[in-house]
């Protein structure tokens, strides 16, 4: 499957997290929030000004800026309905 940037995912779409090309403290925080390889992630809500965007991951809603989601790579999950519906 082709990897795309998390920022390219459309609202409501869900995907499987594959790679985080971010280092340092920022990466650690992402890991703490549960941004672990092979986790399911879904786009939940965009800020009124278009950025940041909130994502569902591991049952929590986490907001990230585009600079970060540009460097997170995911595989689109065609079948899964995501966490909105279980």
């Amino acid at each position: 499957m082709k990897l795309i940037r998390l920022s390219e995912l459309l609202l409501g779409q869900s995907a499987i997290l594959k790679e985080i090309k971010i280092n340092g403290l920022q990466r650690r925080r992402l890991l703490d929030f549960g941004f672990i390889k092979d986790s399911e992630i879904q786009v939940a809500q965009r800020s009124p000004l278009g950025d940041p965007t909130a994502y569902w991951i591991k049952g929590a809603l986490i907001a990230l800026r585009k600079e970060e989601t540009d460097n997170i790579f995911v595989e689109v999950n065609q079948n899964a309905k995501g966490q909105l519906y279980e």
């Binding site: 890991l31 703490d32 672990i36 390889k37 000004l49 940041p52 591991k58 986490i62 279980e86």
Partner: protein, 737 residues
């Protein structure tokens, strides 16, 4: 329930673990011999503070962590004739990163050695929360897992199998819904069972990734050799491999060693015989660690956290079942409050409602309080006269010091007592992180952090509280920007001036049907102007000064909306915020009142000092559309902005004390007689919005930054902006109108 898995019947640990420890290093906990120390850890937004409040009731107090500006909550409770001291650790997602909060939480569990550590988790989000549980269980055995918000989980058709969790984690597990008081007795019972040794948890040992096994083992054997009693060498080895500077410091300092090592007091007293600072063997371990970590470092943290999450995932899968086909995300509120179309308008409307409730709600209590306090001034006056006190003593104490104090309290206390609970309500409800989410793009543009919006929100109540609230911003650069610019949101002490000017001068320029709308719009406009200045100054600071830098990352959790807890709100906003601000009024406003009286009553030649000073400031005042009396009032009111208007009136009437007029009509007449126009009012509103922080805020800035330079900048920068803006208004106004 079968507890055999982690329970030992030998009861080898006597019930006097607490007594055996003479002191708790670094944490400065002076404890009595019969108190057990319980630490409360957990992710943010798990209802940890609800558990804390439910256990301790009103029996709690706040302080700071030693050497840190982080608030520390502590409380006491009794259960079955045992006394417990409960320490609320800062909410953290992990103990592995490097924030101050995480360091505090980790150091307390490690060096403070609580008798029991309760980890509170959100039952609806167990998998991610288990990450922290597993980390804490690596440091200490005496851990209880408290699955809170179990009611919310039920609503979302999530059920948790307690036995399975206990079995897999090797820890006692209690299910609670602290908000409804459910499960708290089970929690206390579990605490007691660990204290008495009826239960001895044997936490599940996390599986280290293969790549790390060898380096960890190498370090563990050297650590064992040097510190034979170290309770958790594998954990320390992991931290060393991760290049954790704090752990190195702790190992290197003899001061901390005993607490690291001992499980009984005899070792603690022998601390002198332990390896001394910079002991060669300690250094050898560090060198080995550095060497080993070079080979694993880039992937080490990932590997470790991933393996933690795999464990967490495995355990959760066995213990948690969700009914399928049910829509669990019922947060349609977010479609409104953070939506593209309604998000920002909803925010402005909410803000306006908060202002409206604060201003309108405060009117009557303010009046009652003022009447009552000024009656006391009359009584004071009579008493002094009766005792034949000299006139200057009566004047200074009753009409100066006391009047200043009474004024500030009656103007300030009611709006504070309304504003802060409403603000805490929004905080509890979960709305505030959404404000940061909504506005982050603007702050990113200005090189700052979206969380700055929260500190600004707090600043509407009190700028000193706003400056303290900037602690939630991790990056020191972004935090300094937030501190310096907090002054540009008008606080409760400035509202009355703004409202009075808006209604006396701006609203009066409109037909009466529109006047109240005009006044309200003026206030909203001034507020938005303050926000604009904040963004521009932040942009300036992050592009042109030594605070230069790109905006760092923004990662924020948006917790589910939750029903706020009214009693807790009232309690915390009273204790934390209103009383703090009230205290400031007493130490700051009273001297200002005294000074004001002295200036007005000491005469040099024909005029009072006040008049001389006002005359001196007159040209400068006029250049910026104001006058000498107003500028002087601003100088006197540095400690408390609330006394601006009474001081101005005093100056115009050449009265000997701060004065208020009975009607708005008289007030306006007095101002107009002294040359005020709509321009004066506009300049004054802008000056009031921009000028400089009050002395309490300045002191808070100094305390938070520990830097004279930034404290001075926080005063001079706003002052120059205020002068520049008012100068431009004063010079262009006549050309326009």
């Amino acid at each position: 329930m079968q507890k055999a898995n982690y329970m030992s019947n030998t009861c080898a640990i006597p019930n006097n673990i607490a007594q055996s420890r003479e002191q708790v290093f670094q944490i400065n906990l002076s404890k009595t011999h019969h108190e057990y120390v319980i630490a409360l850890a957990g992710n943010p937004n798990t209802g940890k503070s609800t558990i804390f409040n439910a256990l301790t009731g009103l029996n709690q107090h706040t302080g700071n962590w030693p050497g840190k500006t982080v608030k520390r909550m502590e409380g006491k409770f009794r259960f079955h004739d045992r006394h417990y001291r409960l320490i609320d650790l800062p909410g953290t997602y992990s103990l592995l990163s490097t924030s101050t909060d995480e360091e505090i939480a980790r150091n307390f569990v490690l060096f403070g050695k609580p008798d029991v550590t309760v980890v509170v988790v959100d039952s609806t989000c167990l998998e991610r929360n288990l990450n922290l549980v597993l980390q804490i269980a690596q440091i200490t055995n005496n851990v209880i897992l408290c699955c809170n918000l179990i009611d919310e989980a039920k609503r979302k058709s999530i059920s948790i199998n307690q036995q399975s969790l206990e079995h897999d984690l090797g820890l006692p597990v209690v299910l609670t819904s602290a908000r409804n008081g459910d499960g708290l007795d089970d929690l206390k019972k579990s605490i007691e069972e660990i204290i008495t040794g009826q239960i001895r948890p044997q936490p599940f040992a996390i599986s280290y990734p293969d790549e790390l096994k060898e380096p960890v083992e190498t370090l563990v054997s050297s650590l064992r050799e040097l510190f034979p009693t170290l309770p958790n060498p594998a954990w320390v080895a992991m931290r060393l491999l991760d290049g954790d500077q704090k752990i190195k410091e702790s190992l290197d300092s003899a001061e901390l060693l005993p607490t690291l090592l001992n499980n009984d007091s005899s070792l603690a007293t022998e601390s002198h015989h332990l390896p001394s600072p910079s002991n060669p063997s300690v250094n050898t371990i560090f060198k080995t660690a550095d060497h080993l970590s070079r080979s694993v470092q880039p992937v080490m943290h990932d590997l470790f956290v991933e393996s933690l999450f795999l464990d967490a995932q495995r355990i959760t899968r066995r213990a948690v079942t969700k009914k399928t086909g049910i829509r669990i995300w019922d947060n349609s509120l977010d479609h409104l409050l953070t939506s593209r179309i309604f998000g920002i308008p909803a925010m402005v409307i909410l803000l306006s409602i908060v202002f409206f409730l604060t201003i309108e709600g405060a009117n009557i209590p303010s009046q009652i309080l003022a009447d009552w306090l000024f009656q006391i001034e009359g009584l004071l006056d009579h008493t002094f006269n009766y005792l034949n006190a000299p006139w200057w003593l009566t004047g200074f104490l009753a009409h100066g010091v006391y009047r200043g104090l009474a004024w500030v309290i009656s103007v300030m206390l009611p709006p504070m007592a309304i504003f802060f609970p409403i603000f805490t309500f929004l905080e509890d409800f979960g709305y505030l992180p959404r404000v940061a989410f909504n506005l982050d793009r603007l702050f990113k543009w200005s090189g700052a952090h979206g969380k700055q919006a929260l500190a600004m929100g707090m600043g509407f109540g009190c700028n000193a509280a706003g400056v303290i609230a900037t602690r939630i911003i991790d990056s020191p650069r972004e935090r300094l920007i937030a501190i310096i610019t907090n002054n540009f949101v008008p606080c409760n002490g400035r509202w009355p001036t703004l409202i009075m000017l808006a209604s006396l001068f701006v609203a009066a320029a409109f037909p009466s049907a529109l006047s109240s709308v005009a006044a309200a719009s003026t206030i909203v406009f001034i507020t938005l102007f303050g926000v604009l200045v904040t963004l521009l100054v932040s942009k300036f600071l992050s592009t042109r000064t030594s605070l230069r830098g790109e905006s760092s990352f923004f990662q924020i959790e948006l917790p589910p909306y939750r029903r706020p807890q009214f009693l807790r709100i009232i309690y915390t906003s009273l204790i934390d915020r209103t009383l703090l601000v009230l205290w400031r009024a007493i130490v700051m406003a009273a001297p200002a009142g005294g000074l004001c009286w002295l200036l007005a009553n000491i005469y040099v030649g024909q005029y009072s000092l006040f008049a001389h000073a006002a005359n001196f400031l007159q040209p400068m005042g006029q250049a910026i559309g104001l006058d000498g009396v107003i500028l002087l009032a601003y100088i006197i009111a540095i400690p408390a902005n609330e006394i601006i208007v009474p001081t101005i009136i005093m100056g115009y009437m050449a009265a000997g004390q701060m004065t208020e007029l009975d009607s708005d009509f008289e007030l306006k007449q007095l101002f107009v007689q002294n040359g005020w126009s709509v321009m004066t009012a506009v300049s004054l509103m802008l000056f009031s919005l921009l000028h400089y922080p009050c002395s309490t805020t300045t002191m808070t800035i100094w305390k938070e930054t520990k830097s004279v330079k930034w404290t001075v900048v926080s005063n001079l920068l706003p002052l120059s902006i205020a002068f520049a803006v008012c100068f431009i208004v004063a010079q262009t106004w006549p050309l326009l109108f």
